[in-house]
Symmetry: C2
Subunit: 498 residues, 2 copies
């Protein structure tokens, strides 16, 4: 009788059956109902199937935020393909690494990424590259049958995240992970017929992707923006009946600045603020202006939110990320024991939205997930009433404009330069991006290097948001007795310097 608990009807297909005529998606001046979307997805899925793609195969997507991408994602689900969501801001070196690791059978991309895609095609000749613009010319399977059901244990998506080591790991997200994430969120935020979630965060990140999942699971309208522009987001909230927006601190900052003295309409009910601890003054300003901020904590491994502050606590517990969503659990560990209230330690989470593990990384999986608990590496504490306060992400994580930047990855790139002996990276406060990376560099004896050259070197190998904004040359890096780099001290040196 396990049939019942292991499978669910295909989400979009079911949605197109239950509420076909509701608006599903708006993009620029176009609108798509759920039945529109379903029919387009069916068409696309038939063509993917015509290329020999079948259930259990893996495809990498290098696509932007627009309706075609939404259609392609669901088409992959209709066929039963595992999707590797590639971050289009990465350099080709980074993308190639991920593709070689995930070994997809195909790369599906779009004309906007032609240059990138052509190089990928050259470097990884065994993985065919398709352009979405050419999909219509592809052969279709005559009687394509979409999956009627999704097995909750099956892999839906793989998203890469770097972690402390600096070596990216593919996080496996099952259909069950996405489903339970949506259910956990709805039991906290509620659901109204008139709900409309604005998506201006990248859909290749879980923050944006999870909005597309809620779209079909809840049957709500989603407004998709190609990228974040504060003016456009504010306009959509004011004029297009948006009720919920997902943001990170840097976005919220810019939205409030652009808003000036105006207010959001009463119908706007949730500013879901993720992506790391938010400065208190910003939260206070939001309260004063009546902006309904819900602080939240989540990551790729938890398929978006796992801890969110319930509305009744937005004032009394300002600065807290809240309590675990209904189906999930949370604890703080210090040296193998549970921390007492107020004591900081490693944040561990559990629940049906937590990843089963990392692709091809048994050891890292076993290390991160113990007895069903995911040890996040993030530092926080619970207050007397069990509210989570996140102190810092993984000690050294730099969150820059909502993107995770891992110092170790930048350090490794810098160290590749023939003139550089070693490098240490830390985050520096930045008005626009929240934080930006800054590098400390020790040169090899007798070597010479300019800041501009070091930056140019990084630019070749790293997505632009990871490139250090400043290079500080020094004679040695602060290290502890076991020679571990003390990034915390880099931060202090930096603060003293500025």
């Amino acid at each position: 009788m396990n049939f019942n608990q292991e499978k669910l009807p295909n989400w979009l297909k079911r949605r197109a059956d239950v509420t076909p005529d509701r608006i599903a998606l708006e993009f620029e001046d176009k609108a798509y109902t759920f039945i529109d979307l379903h029919l387009r997805v069916l068409e696309t899925a038939g063509r993917l199937s015509g290329q020999g793609m079948k259930k259990g195969d893996r495809v990498a997507l290098l696509i932007g935020s627009h309706p075609d991408s939404v259609i392609i994602i669901h088409a992959c689900f209709y066929v039963g393909l595992e999707i590797v969501m590639l971050n289009s801001r990465l350099t080709n070196k980074e993308l190639i690494w991920q593709i070689r690791d995930a070994q997809p059978g195909w790369i599906l991309t779009e004309a906007a990424f032609t240059l990138k895609a052509e190089e990928l095609g050259e470097k990884i000749p065994n993985v065919p590259v398709f352009f979405k613009e050419e999909l219509n010319r592809l052969e279709k399977v005559p009687n394509f049958q979409a999956l009627d059901e999704f097995s909750l244990q099956d892999t839906a998506t793989i998203m890469y995240t770097s972690g402390t080591s600096g070596k990216p790991k593919g996080v496996i997200q099952t259909y069950g992970n996405h489903w339970w994430s949506a259910v956990g969120s709805v039991l906290n935020l509620g659901l109204r017929e008139e709900d409309c979630w604005l998506c201006s965060v990248p859909i290749f990140h879980i923050s944006g992707f999870s909005i597309l999942m809620r779209n079909v699971i809840y049957g709500i309208r989603v407004i998709l923006l190609e990228s974040f522009k504060e003016k456009e987001v504010n306009q959509a909230i004011k004029e297009r009946s948006v009720t919920i927006v997902s943001v990170v601190t840097a976005m919220l900052n810019r939205m409030i600045a652009e808003l000036q003295d105006e207010n959001y309409p009463e119908s706007f009910r949730c500013m879901l603020l993720g992506g790391g601890p938010a400065p208190l003054h910003l939260l206070e300003e939001c309260i004063q202006r009546g902006i309904p901020v819900y602080q939240t904590y989540g990551m790729t491994e938890t398929s978006s939110q796992i801890v969110t502050l319930a509305p009744e606590y937005s004032i009394n517990k300002i600065g807290s990320a809240g309590k675990p969503l209904f189906p999930s659990q949370l604890k703080i560990e210090v040296e193998g024991r549970e921390a007492v209230p107020g004591e900081a330690g490693e944040i561990a989470v559990a629940g049906p939205n937590v990843t089963p593990g990392y692709l091809n990384r048994k050891e890292e999986t076993v290390q991160a997930i113990r007895n069903g608990w995911l040890f996040t590496g993030d530092i926080g504490y619970l207050d007397e009433e069990g509210f989570l306060y996140v102190i810092d992400r993984r000690s050294d994580l730099i969150i820059s404009g909502g993107e995770n930047v891992y110092p170790a990855e930048i350090e490794a790139v810098l160290a590749k330069h023939p003139a550089i002996f070693e490098a240490g990276v830390t985050g520096m406060e930045d008005e626009k991006w929240g934080k930006v990376p800054v590098a400390f560099v020790v040169l090899k004896p007798g070597a010479a290097l300019s800041e501009a050259d070091a930056i140019a070197h990084c630019r070749e190998l790293l997505a632009s948001y990871k490139v250090p904004k400043k290079i500080l040359f020094c004679s040695e890096l602060p290290r502890n007795s076991s020679n571990k780099l003390l990034r915390r001290e880099l931060k202090e040196i930096l603060e003293n310097k500025l």
Copy 2:
């Protein structure tokens, strides 16, 4: 890694942690927050545990609709007991049959049922009877530990239902069944912070019990009434910010009569109408008066709703029970094949809210649940767009001269007559036709009507084989505790009369 999908945190305990200070329950002039409820439940669970009750044991509850019962139910969950919910309106003969079938270790009841309980104690001496009024005098386990998690596969409740055979069967409802029922409902009806569900249906039936589950899973306020009184229900809707009420046709009839020319407030957003096909004229009156009726179809075996009409179709698809809730599925079968649109057949349903089977009834279970589909025995059809129209419960089907006659259809026609308040139809043996329909009619106060006039009215609106051959006037119709018309009893009355 299955840990994640098989277990959820203890619902009330989690709710008391996440939103402790919200009002959970109101009864008469008393109100309980979730933390209040949790602390009382913990106390009671400790005493049950003190009697030797432990996880996996079974207890039968013979209790009314009041806060103590809510506390006892959750206390059983805290210990991990399987609950047999006994219908307090049954005769002792019926109760004894059920208790012997379910073999609970204990019966827990209350002073109001002393007479019943004493006889049960005599007839089934091996099952000890406890009174809730005496619980406080019982020994408590010193350091009682409530279950932290519920396994979704575990049995939560057993409710007896007669089914077509007339022999009661214990329907097993797992924690998973109750959870998914609540989730399926929320994805259709939505969820608002200010939601308040009024429960005036018996909590020993799934209609009432499921409200108690939504209470803790959603974290919403529930107003509990000891029994259905139309004046009290209307008053609660008008004055106590009720947003959702579960009703059956007879209740709705009486509520509308009592409401007279008044209206419900705007905030009242859902009249969830279950318990069998509703007469069209009643639905039309509700539309005219702006009462937001959601027709629904469900049963003990589906842990309440499984098919519900989405709000946008309340007018266009009037009379339909709607489409399956998001995680569930529906089909109509005729002689082993799927029916075509418009063709009536047996309603089959599947989904994670469907019972794993009947207690101690392997054969009936295998017969009813095939390949994950529950064959309900009810008759209905799907229209071209897949909306379910429930024609009748199979047991009530009258086959007259080879033609299928569905009582509900005739009842609806009779109820359209201005002098008729409500009607019930059953079959009578007939030499010529095998069976013929006979109607029981309740007139409106002060109205007068002859048998000939009533028959003439039907003849205008129905094919001749559907016209009742006899009209019996009466002051009320036999209904069960959830106000469902008992056509079986009509049959008995008829046979005694003839």
